[in-house]
Each structure stands twice: as C-alpha cells, then as structure tokens.
C-alpha cells in the first residue's frame, strides 16, 4: 500500500489562496490599518520643516505595522482558533508551520501595500520625495518591523486564549503605542521617558524606518535599533510559538 503525502508547495498555494480571499473579504476592516497612517501623514504636515519628511512617514508606517501585526494577525488567529478552524486543518497531512506561514505572508504583503500607500500619500499630500534607494531600504526595513509586530501578535495569542480578551488587549497596546510614540518623541515627559520610548519596540522600528529613507545617513544608532528590533522579534516569536495552543480548550 503506497500513500503519497501532498507536496508542500501545493499545500502552501492552497492555504495562501484561501488566506488572500479572507483578506480581500475583510478589506473594510483592513483599510483601518492603512487609514491611521494616512491621517498622520496628512495631519503632521506642519512638523515636516522641523523634523523632516522621513520622520513623518516613519511614524505613519510604524503605526500601520502595529495595527496589522496586532489587529490584523492576532485577532484573526484568536477568532479562528476559537472556532476550531485550526483543528480541522491539523487533522490533514499538512506540515503545521504552513498554516501560520501562509497567514504571515498575507500580513507581510499588507505591510508592503501599506508602505507603498504611505509613500504615495507622502508625495501627494506633503510633497515628500526620498532618494530612490531609500524606498528600497524602507521596504526591507518595514518587513523587519512587520516581523517584530507579527511576533508580538503571536505572543499575545499565545498567552491569551479568549478572542474577546485578545481583541481588547491588542487595541489597548495599539493605543498605548500611539500615545507613547507621539508624546515620547517630543521630550514632554523628560529625557528618561524619551529614552525608554526610543528603545521600545515602537522606537526601534520608527528609528530604522526613518533612517532607511535616507540610507546615506545610516549610523550606529540605526544599527543598534535594527539589531534590537530583530532581537525583539526573536524573543516574541519564541514565546509566541512556545505558548501557542491550536485548540480552543
């Protein structure tokens, strides 16, 4: 009796197709992740002379990435786990990692879309134009930021089981990042607070994004922030995978 196990690329293709359909059907909800960055790009126009265009775009993209990682990814995983979607997939012969890989790829492409939208909006609304190399480096760096926030999302659904609690937690963290991110930038709360924000997951991602628009200005601070971002991503991902349960019970 010979039995063939389905080829992994074919399995991944089927999962990706389904996950992209789900993304498309939820497009109204997903637009919110892009809307907030656009509001920033639009309303922070006045800050450009003081802080520069890269600063404004970087903040916008950072907030978008946070929304995608926390709200787009974590909430969907929590919901599907609760409904038993994963258990049904798990009784088929697919390699388990393909279930999550497919979802992560879909969210990463959302992040690429987000950066493009912000680039275009930055040019159209604020007239921000960056060196061409900057756009490419920013693409890459926004994927690093995406990895950080997707793995933070993974850690949250690993730690918290109920979809309602995951939902409120991700919203709370998103709000907290918006507040600290904005206020922490401007020294209102003193140097110590600013330093904490700088080295927080918000600050490191914003720093590397801001520098990547102008790769010529890449410095030690940016390298440290990049390494720290990767470190955060590894820690969150490790915890998120370790804690994660596939089933509702």
């Amino acid at each position: 009796m010979s039995l063939t196990i389905p080829k992994t690329p074919a399995v991944l293709a089927a999962l990706l197709k389904a996950d992209y359909i789900v993304l498309w059907r939820n497009r109204r909800g997903n637009i919110m992740s892009v809307l907030m960055p656009l509001i920033i790009v639009f309303s922070w126009k006045g800050l450009i002379p003081q802080f520069g265009g890269a600063f404004v775009l970087a903040n916008g993209i950072t907030l978008g990435i946070i929304a995608i990682g926390l709200m787009g990814y974590a909430n969907a995983v929590a919901r599907d786990r609760d409904k038993g979607v994963f258990q049904r997939l798990r009784v088929s012969p697919l390699p388990l990692w393909t279930i999550m890989a497919s979802r992560l790829v879909v969210q990463l492409s959302m992040i690429l879309l987000l950066t493009i939208v912000v680039f275009v909006a930055g040019y159209q609304l604020d007239g921000i134009l960056m060196p061409t190399a900057g756009y490419f480096v920013t693409f890459f760096v926004s994927l690093v930021g995406g990895a950080l926030y997707l793995s933070l999302g993974q850690a949250i659904v690993g730690r918290i089981q109920s979809p309602e609690t995951v939902n409120s937690t991700t919203r709370l963290i998103y709000l907290a990042f918006i507040m600290t991110g904005m206020l922490g930038q401007f020294d209102y709360f003193g140097v110590d607070f600013k330093r904490i924000v700088d080295w927080s997951p918000y600050g490191t991602v914003k720093t590397i994004l801001a520098v990547s628009f102008e790769p010529a200005k890449w410095n030690l601070h940016a390298t440290e922030a990049l390494l720290l971002s990767i470190g955060y991503a590894i820690i969150f991902a490790t915890l998120g995978i370790k804690w994660f349960k596939w089933g509702a019970k």
Binding site: M1, T4, I5, A14, K17, I21, V22, D80, P93
Partner: protein
Amino acid sequence: MGEVQQKNILQVEDLHVQYGQVQAVKNVSFYVEQGEIFGLLGPNGAGKTSTLSAIEGLIRQQSGTVTVAGYDTLKDSRHARAAMGVQLQSTSFQPELNVAEILELYAGIYGLSLNKQQLQALLNEINLSDAENKKFGQLSGGQQQRVSLAITTIHDPKLVLLDEPTSGLDPQSRRQLWSRIESIREKGNAVVLTTHSMEEAEAVCDRISIIDHGRIIATGTPQILIDKHRNDPDVIAVSRRGKITLEDVFIALTGSAIRA
C-alpha cells in the same frame, strides 16, 4: 507488514489519554477492518471524542499505540493523516470563504486540484449544485453536514472518522447520510463513527464498542450484544413492552444515571 495488519485499517492498542488530572481514556483497544463500519457508543463524556482525537493526532496519548493503514500515528503521523478523512464533532471553516472556496482549499491541502467541472460534479453529488457561492454559515445543518462529509472524503481515504455525524439531522437527511456512509464501505474503506442513537448503530454499524468512563465495556455486532445480554436482569428491568433492544443493553451496561 503481515496479513492481519493489511486487513486492519485501524488498530488501537492499550490507549490512555489524560487531560491534566482527568483520565479520559483508559486501556482502550479495538481494530477496524477494511470495508467495515464501526460504531463507538457511549454516554456524554465517555471518552469517544478523546479516543478519536488521539487517532487523529489532535492530542498526544499518554501511552498506547494507534496504527492507521499500517502507519504509526506518532512515528509516521503525516502518512497516517493522509490515510484518514476526519469530521470533527464541531466543524468550522473561515467564515469569509464560500463553499466552492472551502472545497478547493481542502482539495489543495490533500494535493488534489479541482477544475470547474470536477467542482460542479462534487457539488452535484451532495445536492448542492447552486450553493457554491454560499458561505458555510448560511447553509442549513443538513447542508453543512453534506459539505463537511464531502471534504472528509475528498481524497478517498482508507479510514473515515465521523464524530456524531447525524446529530441534529432530520430523518430524511439522516437516512441519506447513512447511504453515503455505506457507500464508503462499498469502496472497501473503513468508517468509525460515534453516535448516541442506538437505532443508528443497529442500522449502519457492522460492529460496535460501548465505551463508558473511558473504558470499553462491550464489543461485538449489535445483534451479538443483544443476544449476549438478553437474559441479564438489568437488561430485562429497563426493557419496554417485552422487547429487548440495543438501547436496553446500552442503558443496562452504562447505568441509567445522567452524566454531568
């Protein structure tokens, strides 16, 4: 691989399943041959779903071995899972997907591709030819059941595991499902189903095991079990109108108390 192994599509030996302190399955052993419909009967909380979950690989047994089509479910889990089709007690798919998309997804996961005609043929087979654009959640219970069974058998598995497949169905749908289950047997594949309906067990199962408090307490054809316990005082005491049914045997063996 020996003769016996070939014939037994499913072999469960000395299975123990535990959740924390709760011992849900104790010392369970049974086999299912090809072309056989096997029923797992037991009160609520008896350990039916837990037994199936261990076979399916959703939970890891504390001890014991499970072999599906000759593959050990722990050592060769992907082969074992490729050989089985599973319908869980409660099935769910991403609510954004419609019926056609769900069928395509699962075909892909089993390495198959469905073209337009094949998809339409599959939908016709389950009398849902005009439902391809409906969401799973918009279907009636009976329609959901049919889609679910179509997915379970999409890769023509040697072993089909159905956890309470007929609960909530009207008599017509139930009969129709029985025929579908019998046609799986006709192809030489094996079926394990759980049910609370003694009528169903008598109507479709070739052999059954009664499980209670995580242990198998009786195994045999429905008729053999009835004949064997026909004269037990407990069975006679619960029987009605002088006729001994499988349900009388079941209640006598598992006790008449309602399970928490």
